[in-house]
Symmetry: C2
Subunit: 270 residues, 2 copies
C-alpha cells in the first residue's frame, strides 16, 4: 500500500502530523475525507485589514474560514494545534510579486507581524458532487482542474484588485441544475458556479488552453460550469507586489478539523 493510500484513511490530526514530520508531501485531494481543507495566505499585518476587506467584498473566490492573531502561526479556530508553518505539504514564497521559493516548511520565514488567512477550497463541493453521483472530470482523468483568468471584475480593497480566476468542470446538461444546487450549499467553499455555458461570456477565449492546470475533455451534451477559484487571491496578491507573501502551493492545502458539513468553520480549541 502506498503512503498516499495509507494517509487517505487518517483523521485530520494524523494527516497533519504526517505532513509536519515530512512523511507526506504531496497534494491533499482525497485526504482526511469529510473535513474542510483550505487555501493559505500569509501576509504582513499592515496589509491584513485590506485583505480581510478584499475577501469580504469578493466572498465567492475568497471565502474566509480562518484568521490567525498577528504573529501567531496557529489557526486556533480550525482545530487542535494547527500550525500553518508546518502543516501544509508545500508553500510558495513570493517576494515583490515573484515566486522565489517552494518549500515544505516556513518556520524560518515566519515574522512577528505575519497574519494567516485560511480560505475555503473546491474539494468540499467536489466531494459533495461525487457523493451525489455527478462525476468530476479532472478527478477521473487524474489531472489538475483547469483554471482560467476571466473578465469578471473583482471589487477592490486597498492594493488588491483584478479579475476573477475560475475553475471549470464539464457537467452533463441534465445534471447542471443539481450541481448548482449542491455546490450552493457550501458558501464557504466557493458556493454555486459564477457562470455556466459559453466561456466567451466571461472572457475565456479557449477552454483548451487554461492559465493553470490541465485541459479536460468536454463530452457531447456536457456544459462547462465555472466556479470562483481559490487561485484568485494568489493572482491578486502577485499583482499587488507586496515585499513578502506566502501561500500554499496549489493543490497542497491545509487540512482542518472542521467537518465539511459544519454550519460555521469555527472550533473552540485551546
Amino acid at each position: 500500500m502506498s503512503s498516499f493510500e495509507q494517509i487517505r484513511t487518517l483523521i485530520p490530526a494524523e494527516a497533519r502530523a504526517a505532513i509536519r514530520t515530512g512523511a507526506y508531501g504531496r497534494h491533499t485531494a482525497g485526504l482526511a475525507a469529510g473535513y474542510l481543507q483550505a487555501n493559505l495566505v500569509v501576509l504582513p499585518e499592515t496589509h491584513a485589514l485590506d485583505f480581510a476587506r478584499f475577501c469580504q467584498r469578493n466572498p465567492k473566490p475568497c471565502p474566509v474560514v480562518g484568521m490567525t492573531d498577528a504573529g501567531s502561526p496557529k489557526f486556533r479556530t480550525l482545530g487542535q494545534d494547527v500550525d500553518l508553518c508546518r502543516d501544509v505539504p508545500s508553500y510558495n514564497v513570493y517576494e515583490h510579486g515573484v515566486l522565489t521559493a517552494t518549500v515544505p516548511d516556513i518556520s524560518d520565514l515566519w515574522q512577528d507581524d505575519f497574519v494567516g488567512f485560511a480560505l475555503g477550497c473546491s474539494f468540499t463541493f467536489e466531494n459533495a458532487l461525487i457523493a451525489a453521483g455527478i462525476p468530476v472530470r479532472h478527478i477521473d482523468m487524474d489531472t489538475t482542474v483547469p483554471m482560467y483568468r476571466t473578465s469578471i471584475a473583482l471589487t477592490p480593497a486597498g492594493p488588491f484588485s483584478g479579475t476573477m480566476v475560475v475553475s471549470m468542470r464539464p457537467i452533463a446538461e441534465a445534471r447542471v441544475s443539481e450541481a448548482i444546487a449542491i455546490s450552493s450549499r457550501f458558501p464557504l467553499a466557493h458556493g454555486a458556479p459564477v457562470h455556466t455555458g459559453n466561456p466567451g461570456d466571461i472572457g475565456i477565449a479557449d477552454l483548451r488552453t487554461p492559465d493553470w492546470g490541465e485541459p479536460v475533455d468536454i463530452e457531447p451534451g456536457e456544459i462547462p460550469c465555472f466556479w470562483a477559484c481559490g487561485v484568485t487571491p494568489q493572482a491578486v496578491l502577485l499583482a499587488a507586489s507586496l515585499p513578502m507573501v506566502i501561500t500554499h502551493t496549489p493543490g497542497h492545502m491545509l487540512i482542518t478539523d472542521v467537518p465539511e458539513t459544519a454550519d460555521i468553520p469555527v472550533i473552540q480549541s485551546d
Copy 2:
C-alpha cells in the same frame, strides 16, 4: 397616511434619503421590504482587524455584510451613495464603554481613522418566516424582540470576548423545524437558531425578564427558539471599553440596496 406608512413603500435609496434629511427618524422594521438591513459598528482602524477577526470567529451573531475603507463613511458595496454618517435614523455613541449620546447624525464625530462594519440583522429571516405563514410574536404584539445574555462563550479576538446575546421567538412546535430550515437559508442574517427549548440550557434564568427588549407571551404548544443576536457585538464592544465606538440605536438599522435573497451582499457601485 402616516409618514411611516408612506416610507414603507419606498425603495432603499428613497428611504435612506428620507432618513438623511431627517424626514424619518424611527425604527426601520418593515421599511424597504425585500432589502437587507444591517447593524452598524464604527470603530478606529487600530481595532478594526481584531474586530474583523472577532466577526469571522463568531459569524452567527456577527455576520459581516460590509466594511468601509479606513476614513471613508461610504459603504461602497452596499449600494449607491450609502453614507453611514447620515443614513441611519439613530446612533449610539459610546466612550470608554459608556453610552454618552444618542444622535441622528454622526458627521461631526467622524474621524479619519474610523472604519465602518455592517452586520446582517434578524429582519431578513423574520420577513421570510412571515412570508411562510409563521407568525413572529413580538411583531404581532408590536414590541421589541426580547433579548437575553447567555452562557454561550464567544471565540475571543484581541480585546473582544464575552458571551452571546440571543433573541427569542416562540414558535408552534409543529413549525419549529420549518422555522429552522427557513432561517438557515440566511447565514448573513444570523442563520439557524443557536438553541431551541429549555432556556436554562444556555444560561437564561427567566424568559419574563429579558436583558433588552420586552417579554412576549409563550402560548401552550410553543417552543422558545433562540437566534444569535446583533446586540452581541454591542455588548462585546462595551466591555472592551474602547475610547470611542459608534453603533446604530437598536432597531434603527442601515437600509441597503442589497436584495435579501442575494447570493452575496456585494453591489458593484462607484
